[in-house]
Symmetry: C2
Subunit: 152 residues, 2 copies
């Protein structure tokens, strides 16, 4: 069990977790990012997949563009008018490990009906993949061996 503490080593306001949560910590935003990570780009595709009310979807997409997680471009199919599409930026794509870690947590702790609907493998070795802590030279570190370092 984690030892009792009266407060965190860094106040939440200074922690980037709080800022990150303000940005993406709402259901629709996370589900939009999930679809985007699978390649969904078009308003109607997000809408039909997620069932998000159109005004909410439009607000969330606008916000994600303003925050630099999605880039708005236009595409034009033959004989149709130009329409916007929303493509993940590097900043947005960098959330992939977060969303996969959260999905795997859900697979393990929320779904008792057997196999998770999705799993991830390494393209090369075809081995199953999970999220973990690793040192910069690629060695896995068990969660209980993590040590917090504060910068001053």
């Amino acid at each position: 069990m984690i030892p009792l503490s009266r407060k965190s080593p860094v106040p939440p306001a200074q922690c980037n977790l709080a800022k990150a949560v303000d940005l993406i910590g709402d259901r629709w935003t996370l589900l939009i990012l999930r679809s985007a990570l699978y390649g969904v780009r078009r308003f109607d595709d997000f809408q039909s997949e997620l069932g998000t009310p159109r005004t909410i979807l439009s607000g969330r997409l606008k916000n994600l563009v303003e925050q630099g997680l999605l880039a708005r471009r236009t595409y034009k199919s033959e004989g149709r008018r130009a329409r916007p599409e929303y493509v993940l930026t590097d900043k947005g794509e960098a959330l992939r490990p977060v969303l996969i870690a959260l999905t795997q947590w859900g697979d393990h702790w929320l779904d008792c009906d057997g196999q998770p609907p999705i799993s991830f493998t390494d393209m090369q070795s075809r081995q199953a993949v999970h999220t973990a802590f690793v040192t910069d030279d690629g060695r896995e570190v068990p969660s209980e061996n993590l040590r917090i370092v504060l910068r001053r």
Copy 2:
């Protein structure tokens, strides 16, 4: 860039990400879990650290207990009445990689003022630690080599 797709391989309703987001995808809940991962357990300590209005805090803690992420126990300091404390269960502690991955994303993408306020090292080797995808035999896999496997 991720190839265009009209929809995700698994509908969001079947994905455990959506269920996980419903459980923990709100600002206060995530900040409470963050404090709990640092060892904060007592109502007043959560309250003074987070500044959460008391009725909201009390509702969020109750919900986290009902969902099995926190366990409610009582403690008693000498000469005072017994009071509740909230301790992370295994299910709650298992969110640590998610919160660290999100913090590290924030450190990298949201804070341009230099060093992040916290970093993590391996207790044994003292090397810096980051979240990554690894195979079950502990080899790191770059994000672009991940392959999704659907179960049917």
